[in-house]
Amino acid sequence: MIVIFSRLRSFFVALVSFLLAVLLVVGVYAQTANTTFRITISAASLAVSIVDASGTAVDTPLVTFGDVVRVSDCMTATATLGETTQRIRVTNPGASDSGWKLSIAANATTSLWESQGDSSKQFDFNDVGDSSSLGCSDLSSSGDTDSVGGQLTIDPSVATLAGVNSVGTTGISKGSTASFAEGTLDSIDLLTAGSNSLNFGAWELQGVGLSQKIPASQDVANDYQLTLVLTVTAQ
């Protein structure tokens, strides 16, 4: 008798819970009975962006090099591309299942670091330079078309690659350290994803090393600027 009563009680408790759940859902839907749901799913496209720690796109991303004191010797300024607040994010929403490549280059091979206040103050980013000046002076014989020295080195091997929302990084390899050389090396690979990389996901790269050689006694200015372009290419 006790057993039957216990089973009946369990049955009624479960039944009441089920009815309550149904009533709750019906109630919610009743309130929104006239709402039309509409979802737009944009077509898949490979993308690269600079985002902050919360994943929001940074409107005007900028890398600032450490200050350099003007001396009569070759100078080197360093910086980091892909700070915590400016991460490089590549998104592949199934847009390139045979792999992709992320590379970086200046917006023209003939670009120069140029003072915004005085355009006559310039130095180069892709001149291999004369070995006697530690690679800081102009070396036109190397194929460089301008008359100023300076070279930018990018080292993605020291960077950290991580998948957004713990997406795996299998099949994605970081590039090696390399220096721009006009006509010989105009683009530097940051990441290469093979066909075995995940076809759907987003990845963030942080901490790419930058090192810029500046010619000896370069004109003083606090507003030198160069534009680099990050390109993600479907392979």
Binding site: L24, S45, L46, S98, N107, L185, A202
Partner: protein, 336 residues
């Protein structure tokens, strides 16, 4: 049976509630920027979904199109620039999309857009037609370029300003004698500052078309025979290029001797799949164990030695007891 029915009822009510509660949400990966994809997918060429692939004779004109997307969900219109560009040398040994401001001498100059600038509303898209014209006198082989899409923006501030763009590869094959060959597979190992090992695998394309390769780098323990790491993937090697790929092997915790084997596979023709296998020299690697691993290994060794000593002592004691027991029996038997 009765309990099962009650359980089912519980499950039903819970499942109904949970599924109803979440039905209004859509899980999506959010990102901003611009993007594009080929407008015309050909089912017989799967890659045409992502890149532009054509076989065109000299003088032939190909009608094409790209669907340009404004992926910005913030609700603002974007002015998007679209251009055809050449490829330039890239640090990995391959190629990358050239810059719009540079002079286009090859595929970049073969591409002509009706318009290079479109305004697209947030989350909108637009098909932009273009043509690819192969000039007369171009020799047989594959030629690569890119269609690049970039948002038009003013550069601000001082320092290194960054802009982003998306490139879609344009691969044009001019028919004739096409040669596919990868040579000189090699692998070079370096020990990193953090103790991990980096491997740079390379292969050279001596043909006149790009070759899709399958690169494999395997690390096997010579003590256990187990595969501790397998890396690689499928990567294109462009004509005339020596492509390099970097892989990192985390320092094996337990240490010991390891053998690293590397191979590059590719198809000798369009129809064959990875029928040519090239092997680079094997690398023998001895890894010193991590400090904790040494501690554990020494500890285990110590336990084994102690166990053996104890076991030996026990056996000796047992043997001695048996010997004493035997002697007593002999004495009892003799009536002493």
């Amino acid at each position: 049976m009765f309990r099962a029915r009650i359980g089912l009822l519980w499950l039903l009510s819970a499942g109904f509630f949970v599924s109803s509660s979440f039905s209004g949400f859509a899980f999506a990966l959010e990102y901003d920027g611009v993007g594009g994809q080929p407008a015309y997918f050909r089912s017989d060429v799967p890659k045409s979904k992502h890149i532009f692939l054509h076989t065109l004779s000299p003088g032939q004109v190909q009608e094409e199109g790209i669907i340009v997307h404004n992926l910005d969900s913030s609700g603002s219109d974007k002015v998007i620039l679209i251009h055809g560009v050449d490829t330039v040398h890239s640090s990995g040994g391959g190629v990358a999309c050239a810059q719009v401001l540079d002079t286009q001498n090859e595929v970049g100059s073969w591409i002509a857009f009706e318009t290079n600038e479109v305004i697209i509303p947030a989350l909108g898209k637009e098909k932009v037609p273009f043509t690819i014209t192969v000039p007369e006198g171009v020799s047989a082989g594959e030629y690569n370029g890119c269609v690049v899409i970039q948002e038009k923006k003013d550069v601000q501030g001082s320092g290194l300003s960054l802009s982003t763009r998306v490139g879609l590869r344009v691969a044009i094959t001019v028919p004739g004698v096409l040669h596919r060959e990868i040579v000189a597979p090699s692998v070079v190992m370096h020990t990193q500052d953090d103790g991990d090992f980096s491997f740079q695998v390379s292969g050279t394309n001596t043909g006149n078309v790009s070759v899709t390769t399958e690169v494999s780098l395997k690390t096997r323990s010579l003590i256990t025979g187990l595969l501790v790491s397998e890396q690689g993937g499928g990567y294109p090697v462009y004509r005339g290029k020596t492509q390099r790929w970097n892989f990192v092997l985390e320092k094996p915790f337990w240490g010991g001797p390891y053998l690293v084997t590397t191979q590059i596979s590719y198809g000798s023709s369009d129809d064959s799949v990875y029928d040519v296998v090239l092997k680079a020299s094997n690398i023998f690697l001895f890894v010193f164990p991590a400090p904790l691993a040494i501690g554990i290994e020494v500890g285990v060794l110590f336990l084994i030695v102690i166990s053996l000593i104890l076991l030996r002592r026990r056996r000796r004691a047992r043997r001695a007891r048996r010997a004493r027991g035997g002697a007593r029996t002999t004495r009892v038997g003799r009536g002493e």
